[in-house]
């Protein structure tokens, strides 16, 4: 068995962050496969590993060989995992959700790489995934499983285009799609703004490794201007590290922006705007009643030691609202609003599934009847079918209560569905901003194009266009002339047509 493992059958795991030992150099961990199976001497193994590193797209194999995993980004780590799996040239590769933890553009590149390697070596591959878009791009044969049983199996093409089993059909239904061309929606009115970010920048300084060097600066946000009209949804889209979460945290006053930036909040139409970062204690408490947040990870954002009832009524206690029984009643009602039973109040979070927990988080955020809800990737930890339900719930609540959403996501298809306006961010800069319809059918910026192209769709005839992804997700120096810039000097955000802004030279 041990002779088969690694030698004939190799495996790639879901979380590249945790699948590599943090204490051993990458080269050591990869070359180990060759040593273990007694195929190579140490120096020969190193040579082979370096070739393999080059093959999976490491720009500097020598350096990677002596790097530690924590020195690489998620995508690079997954490349290292792939190298580890491929180095012994196995007959069979088992990949367990190899791209679930990665950004869309990175996912597209990693999938492309795996396909290419497969074509070159002729190995077989078992790919486990929840994403039908990935299936459509990679698979020849598909097996659909549900609760431990096979629902449907067969060749990919007929299965995806004409699913026979209702479960498969439901899965395909639930997969978020970028809508087909529709009449361009008018840009939401700018008259009644609930939230306004004015040239918000945020610079973090990283302590340098050596004491005498100046700390390196990280520009998380650079001159972000965003307007959120009341009752609408503004989405910020970007990869990890694009500054979208920082922008949201600044909008909520969790972090101050750099000098010169400001955030304005108008709790009701016509009232005077409050400056979020210049509030005193009482104003801040009042603001917190109006603005709430839904977090990304429903598993860690609910205290495991508090009953749902306590979690739900705590915000009311903090703000001294109602009596004990009134609070209880409100919590029960709120649970019903988000589609859970009032009898669940006495339970602890561990008794709920991921989707139910996210409903709980939403219910908790709504307890104070806020007017602004900041959703930080509220569905990215959930399965597709559950994601669909949560999105529907968010839409329903927004329309019933006149809520305004600031919606953070890396998933364009999700955003396409819920947002009235989308801002695409890349490395702290808003590169393109428009309504979702305009953005998806007339994208201008190469990075937006890359994001759209990288989105795997459950349609076997629309494979990912890797060239588009590679260019847009690459360095700004490699973008087409019109958008190109290097260093800190970015071109301005220019309105192309009403409601469509792109960062380019004119």
């Amino acid at each position: 068995m041990r002779d088969l493992r690694g030698n004939q059958i190799a495996m790639i795991f879901q979380e590249p962050m945790r699948s590599l030992s943090p204490l051993h150099r990458i080269g050591n961990q990869v070359a180990e496969v060759l040593w273990l199976h007694g195929r190579k001497s140490e120096s020969e193994a190193k040579k082979e590993v370096l070739t393999c590193f080059e093959r999976v797209g490491f720009p500097d194999p020598e350096r990677t060989y002596s790097s530690y995993p924590f020195e690489l980004s998620g995508g690079m780590r997954q490349r290292a995992m792939i190298a580890m799996a491929m180095v012994a040239q196995p007959q069979l590769l088992i990949a367990d959700e190899p791209t679930t933890a990665l950004d869309v553009t990175t996912q597209a590149q990693v999938l492309g790489l795996m396909k290419e390697l497969q074509r070159d070596t002729g190995m077989a591959m078992i790919l486990v995934t929840h994403d039908l878009g990935v299936v459509a791009n990679m698979a020849e044969q598909v097996v659909v499983m549900h609760k431990g049983r096979v629902m449907e199996a067969g060749a990919a093409e007929p299965l995806l285009s004409a699913p026979a089993h209702p479960y498969t059909r439901a899965l395909i239904e639930a997969a978020p799609k970028i809508p087909a061309a529709a009449a361009p929606q008018p840009v939401p009115g700018r008259s009644d703004l609930i939230l306004e970010l004015k040239s918000v920048s945020k610079t973090y300084s990283m302590r340098a490794g050596k004491g005498w060097k100046a700390p390196s600066l990280i520009f998380a946000c650079r001159g972000v201007d965003l307007l959120l009209p009341r009752g609408k949804t503004l989405a910020i889209v970007g990869e990890s590290g694009s500054g979208k979460t920082t922008a949201a945290r600044i909008a909520l006053g969790a972090e101050p922006p750099d000098e010169g930036g400001s955030v304005l909040f108008r709790p009701r139409a016509g009232e005077a705007a409050i400056e979020v970062h210049k509030m005193d204690r009482t104003a801040r408490t009042a603001f917190q009643r109006e603005a709430q947040m839904v977090f990304q990870d429903p598993y860690s954002s609910l205290s495991p030691r508090m009953r749902i009832l306590d979690t739900m009524t705590e915000p009311l206690e903090i703000h001294h609202i109602g009596t004990q029984s009134e609070r209880r009643e409100r919590a029960a009602k709120m649970l019903q609003t988000v589609g859970l039973g009032a009898d669940m109040l006495q339970r602890y979070p561990h008794a709920f599934s991921g989707g139910q927990r996210q409903r709980l988080s939403i219910a908790r955020a709504l307890m104070l009847e806020p007017s602004l809800l900041v959703c930080d990737e509220p569905t990215s930890a959930l399965d597709v079918s559950v994601q669909e339900q949560i999105l529907r719930l968010l839409e329903k609540i927004r329309d019933e209560n006149q809520l305004s959403y600031l919606f953070i996501s890396h998933d364009l298809a999700v955003v396409a569905r819920i947002a009235d306006e989308v801002a695409v961010m890349r490395r702290g800069l808003v590169v393109e901003q428009a309504t979702p319809e305009t953005l998806f059918h007339n994208p201008q910026h190469p990075y937006t194009k890359a994001l759209i192209a990288a989105q795997p769709e459950p349609d076997i005839h629309r494979p990912i266009n890797l060239k588009l992804v590679a260019q847009g997700a690459g360095r700004p120096e490699d973008w087409p002339e019109k958008f190109r810039f290097s260093g800190f000097e970015a071109p301005p955000l220019v309105p192309l047509e009403p409601g469509h802004k792109v960062r380019c030279h004119v």
Binding site: S19, S21, E71
Partner: protein
């Protein structure tokens, strides 16, 4: 390499800490009203022995006890000249023990390195026992290996050390003809070091090492087991198995390396807890370590003696933490590269 620079930096902070500790030790020793000599003078006065009083007064000025407290500290530490020029801890003069009427260095002399020896042996014992047992208990978690090692471990934790000492002495002597008490054959005491003496010390060390080390070993074992179990569930272990590694090799290379950190970090805590914990054992076993000396010195307010012993324990602790810190930096690249862009 930054390691050397880090070690030097760490050594610098150690000296600084030692200096702060010296102030604390001095203040605490002087907190109770009176000192050994003034107590004695009062006693002598009461019984009308003026000759004794004169001698005590002489000692008082000899050791600057008539000076203000802050001056006393500086003279004791060796930053200021006393009646006979600079002669404090820094210069290697540890002071005079009034209780034993001999220089401190003479009293502690031999027992200093015997203390170090006994405790090093105990620490070694802790690690040698805890490492394989902890790994084994984790690898075979929830099996009879795990349960029986935990049972023995808790037994070791729960048994009072002096009781364990008595039991071991009795049976050790009866079955293996091990010596009772002491750290060497009384005939060899005060002799220069030779092969006979080393052998005698080693044989005498067996029981004390076991007694002092048992509770530490079982605690350490359980800690290592828990850490190992945490690590065993992590994906990188699965990765290693998927590579086709043998279980024992995989255990040693991956989870153990990560679980090793707290293990190493404990070196610093182990030393002082053993020295203070072994006072009672030393009394029961008749070991010539500084534990019993410290006890007497504290009881009689023998300030120079107790001050020196406390400083010595502090030094051992600081050396222990320094060693573990430097080892951690060597072992864990995440600490080594801290602050560098990941």
């Amino acid at each position: 390499m930054g390691i050397l620079r880090y070690a030097i930096y760490r050594f610098g902070t150690m000296l600084l800490t030692l200096w702060v500790v010296s102030i604390l030790v001095f203040v605490i020793i002087n907190l109770p009203p009176g000192d050994y000599l003034s107590n004695q003078i009062a006693e002598l006065r009461a019984s009308g022995q003026s000759a004794g009083v004169a001698k005590a007064e002489f000692l008082r000025s000899e050791y600057s006890l008539d000076k203000p407290l802050w001056q006393q500290y500086f003279i004791w530490a060796g930053f200021l000249p006393g009646p006979h020029g600079f002669s404090g801890l820094i210069q290697g003069n540890f002071g005079w023990s009034f209780e034993f009427d001999r220089p401190v260095s003479e009293i502690v002399g031999d027992s200093l390195w015997l203390t170090v020896l006994v405790n090093l042996a105990a620490v070694l014992f802790v690690y040698v026992v805890a490492l394989p047992l902890g790994v084994l208990a984790a690898a075979r978690a929830r099996s009879w290996v795990d349960y029986s090692s935990a049972f023995v471990g808790y037994l070791g934790l729960a048994t009072p050390n002096f009781l364990l000492a008595l039991i071991l002495f009795y049976y050790g002597h009866r079955w293996f003809n091990l010596p009772i008490g002491g750290l060497m054959d009384p005939a060899l005491e005060g002799e220069p070091m030779n092969w006979e003496k080393v052998k005698s010390i080693l044989i005498h060390l067996i029981v004390p090492t076991f007694v002092i080390g048992t509770s530490g070993a079982s605690a350490m074992m359980q800690r290592l087991r828990a850490n190992m179990l945490d690590e065993l569930g992590k994906p990188y272990v699965e990765t290693a198995i998927a590579k086709g590694m043998s279980p024992s090799r995989m255990l040693a290379k991956y989870p153990l390396r990560v679980a090793f950190n707290p293990f190493v970090a404990d070196i610093g805590n182990l030393l002082p807890s053993m020295i203070s914990g072994s006072v009672l054992v030393s009394v029961v076993l008749g070991l010539q370590t500084i534990g019993p000396t410290l006890l007497t010195a504290l009881k009689t307010q023998d300030m120079f003696l107790s001050g020196f012993v406390l400083m010595f324990v502090a030094l051992l602790t600081l050396i222990g933490t320094m060693i573990s810190d430097v080892l951690l930096v060597l072992l864990d690249p995440r600490i080594r590269y801290e602050g560098r862009d990941a």
